[in-house]
Amino acid sequence: MKLLLLPAAAVLAVFAAALASLFRWSLLEFIPGSLQAGSLTLANFRAVLAAQYLGAIRDTVVLSALTTVCTLLGAYPVAYVLARTPSRRVRSALLVLTLAPFFTGAIVRTYAWVLVLGNTVVTWPVPMLFTERGVLVGLVHFSMPTMILILAAAISHIDPVYERAAASLGASPARVFRRVTLPLSLPGIVSGALIVFAWTLSAFPTPELLGGGKVKMIANVVKDLGLDSFNWPGAAAFAMLALALTLALLTAVGRVSAGRTP
């Protein structure tokens, strides 16, 4: 039986080798104009924290936090209906309409927002395309299906008996929601928020196309350095930063779900 894991282990070994190369290059000296790297150094990580890039890191964190909050607020009602509706048709329609963007690729989705935000449909009172506002809209749209799925799973695990009990004891629907449903769905809210935040930290196509070079997040800096300036060591250091942040957050998600009864 263990032998059956060998092919998968081989695939993962290739993936691990790619990440190991990334790590090694993040510690090598960049030689401008050459794809060869020099000796071991920590200079790339010092450059990550240089003033010219701190803005990108700050924008990334702020945009990710805003995205998380907006996604949470938008996703909760849909997730609630998805988990509680007795009608299979309503559930199917909601799933297909809200999850289809999950299956359409990043480029198709982002291009669609280029059209909407670029004054094709309506003329926006404030500039949207190539601003942080526009990037935020695209990021929220991007994260929504993930958040809806996580919240719907959490809410469908709550036994409706608790809600009925509260209602039969005289609580208004708003109070039932505030005192029963919401607290019981908290683990889903926390893990959904952490996952969306972690994913948004390394978002690439959305800020690349909707930011139009004016809004830079961490992943855009990796692309600029790696593919445009051929500074692979510098790009690798930034990519390691994104990787470390993501892994730290997802470990936190693991803690949260482990604390919950299975």
Binding site: M1, L3, L4, L5, P7, A8, V11, L12, F15, A17, A18, L19, S21, L22, L35, V78, V81, R91, L94, L95, V96, L97, T98, L99, A100, F103, T104, G105, A106, I107, V108, R109, Y111, A112, W113, V114, L115, V116, G118, T120, H141, M144, L149, A152, A153, S202, F204, P205, L209, A219, V222, K223, G226, L227, A236, A239, A242, L243, T246, L250
Partner: protein, 258 residues
Amino acid sequence: MILRAAVVALVAFMTLPTVVVIAVSFNPTAILSFPPAGFSLRWYENVLTYPQFQRAAVNSVVVTGGAVALALPVGTLAALALERGRLRGRSLWAAVLLSPLVVPGVAAGLGFLILAAALGLLRSRSVLIAAHVALVLPFVVRSVWVSVRNLDPALERAAASLGATPWRTFRRVTLPLLRPGLFAGLLFAVVVSLNEFVVSLFISNRVTEILPVAMFTYVVNYTDPTIAALSSLFILATFLVVWLADRYLDLGRVFLQH
């Protein structure tokens, strides 16, 4: 009432871009306008005759075909081992198998770029296939694992006790019973691979690039509705796939239960 309004508003937000893309794709002029000023299929014609898209479409088929053909058997065997094998550290194995999902695309992409350069493979589609196998493997393992868990080993024991060889038991009993999981895994793998963009951007060039990368390059350089037409085709294909999946797999059951 408020709940219904919130749900309707969100569904509108989620579908608005799709509606706009489809409408713009029929626009007769190169200047984007909504609603369209007329009706024309010229951008669809442009999609089908633009040489770079033709080349990229071939690359997409080769890369997705190759990656899925490798990932499906590899992932199925891994799922069987995870559920049936007396493994020490099963949860660790599971976490490792699903780990490519959580690695940021730019990190994986740059890593594969550096590795491919060291191996002299930068001009080859094999790097794309290798990366795609790793990226779709988690989806296959997860989907098939669910089916393996629901499979009653008594059925396989019955076949074996009636004289079927292990291989015959596997082929005639195990595999048919795993069909829903295999189908779901195949579906996810194809959709994820066809749409993969970030990692592919790092490890492809004009000759090996797949459709999403070619579309990205086009969007950056031109503003006419050609991409709207190609996007509409992608959206149509995706809706069909999701609708079929919901019909035959009951997506609610797949997503909302553990």
